[in-house]
Symmetry: D2
Subunit: 158 residues, 4 copies
Amino acid sequence: MEQPDVDQLRFAQGILASQPFSELIGARITEFGSGRATLEVPIRDDLRQQFGFVHGGVWAYAADNAITFAAGSVLGPKVLTAGVAIDYLRPAREGVLTVTAQVVHSSHRVAVCRADLSVVGDSRLCAVAHGRVQTADPDRRDEPPAAVLVDPGSGTSS
Amino acid sequence: MEQPDVDQLRFAQGILASQPFSELIGARITEFGSGRATLEVPIRDDLRQQFGFVHGGVWAYAADNAITFAAGSVLGPKVLTAGVAIDYLRPAREGVLTVTAQVVHSSHRVAVCRADLSVVGDSRLCAVAHGRVQTADPDRRDEPPAAVLVDPGSGTSS
Amino acid sequence: MEQPDVDQLRFAQGILASQPFSELIGARITEFGSGRATLEVPIRDDLRQQFGFVHGGVWAYAADNAITFAAGSVLGPKVLTAGVAIDYLRPAREGVLTVTAQVVHSSHRVAVCRADLSVVGDSRLCAVAHGRVQTADPDRRDEPPAAVLVDPGSGTSS
Amino acid sequence: MEQPDVDQLRFAQGILASQPFSELIGARITEFGSGRATLEVPIRDDLRQQFGFVHGGVWAYAADNAITFAAGSVLGPKVLTAGVAIDYLRPAREGVLTVTAQVVHSSHRVAVCRADLSVVGDSRLCAVAHGRVQTADPDRRDEPPAAVLVDPGSGTSS
């Protein structure tokens, strides 16, 4: 991925736009490249739980997706997320959720990422997450990827 | 929570129906009580990632919510989910997602749950998860609950 | 690994005996095969924290090792543990720690395991854990295994 | 904990010295205070697995203990570790293990920490970990602490 960051971001925005669930959530990607990715989710009423806080599942989606994108920026186009763990720290009610994921270790096959989740304009963390992402392996027919960034032609992803 | 299971399930269905995000996802609860909860999510096109598999974030939502409900069935009405971890095992493309969460340990303040995620009619696991849930503590004003099952009047949750 | 279970257990006992740290802890393996492994650790004074409870690190060691053995029983001789998570539920002061790990999913490359930790003769859980184990990949020179069951001749492990 | 850092470190060293398991491992604490703690473990032959790498259980012990100390530096004397997760990135064979844990969020009751594990003099991470630590609650007789930093007189810890 030798393109300048602006092209990388446009590339990532195209992938996000091709994820129907990310469209349903209303997520946008504002940073992508060099082992980092930032996703934002404007809070809407239909993202809440019964008392007006953003549902934990929205945070979990955002952490999962930001971690997958951050890893994809170093592992290349075909990756699958092996697992994600999230610790909830404080709820959010209004504003724009933001999650920045950062690769803390990567090889040519695996990346481990951490993510910080908060609300734009508020430095207090709402959650922290970490996850492990691997390159998709075409010969592992028993393990099609849980999340694949690109290459619709891949035998594992389509 | 002394009511018979049918009342417990109706009670839980009412809570789920009051979660706008669960309505957006289209989740339903089919089992609730005695430390167990089962949620189902019929797969729809807008729950997919770019290659037609269910987005990992949908699985993460389902795990988080099932774990919170299972814990709530033993901890009582006011709980908050401290953290959830999910391992993705295989993707799903069609059918109805089902996640059953089971309390494996609980005290009067904390419950730890495991969850198995699969597709209805297919015994193969798509993911496994576990999570820790605590009772919400009204005097912890610095920690409003990330998820609260009931009691809209609670100072911590509204 | 076609041998009868008794041979499998003897095989696993030989591997455990070749782990100096397991010898230091005083661990023994009492079950191995078909995706399951049970380790026991008799509580000794030098395994405690400052108030006489078994140190969390002893539980974490036992979970890590039992999970690696359980996975090795299905993945074959060369495996590495990618990650382990443990939830502490109640401390232990006397007796024999026991941890049983069970593979809940495996492919030819990856196994995900759960482990239950308790004290022999007491049905109450002291901790639960889960972990992901992969086959060691000789061509991944940047990732020698964190734990390898056998094959000292492997380029990745020696 | 208003004392200067030097007193805080001496205080922490005294606690570590009172943990028989930490003595068995040969751990030392070199930083303590303001939400951070650093532990070191000189690699010895009896800390290895069968191929000469440090056993994953040693890393897990170090992560668990560093996280508990880091949290204790902000939560005060009586804490219990609820859970720890570790991702193994690369093994170590020689030198001194070092783990630095940092509180990323704390309230008056809970602290969430991240830890970086490596070998002294080598900037490459060998593992990353995170954990949740709570204040011990004397009235929770059903939940004596899994790890308590001080106060041997506490009803929950002795």
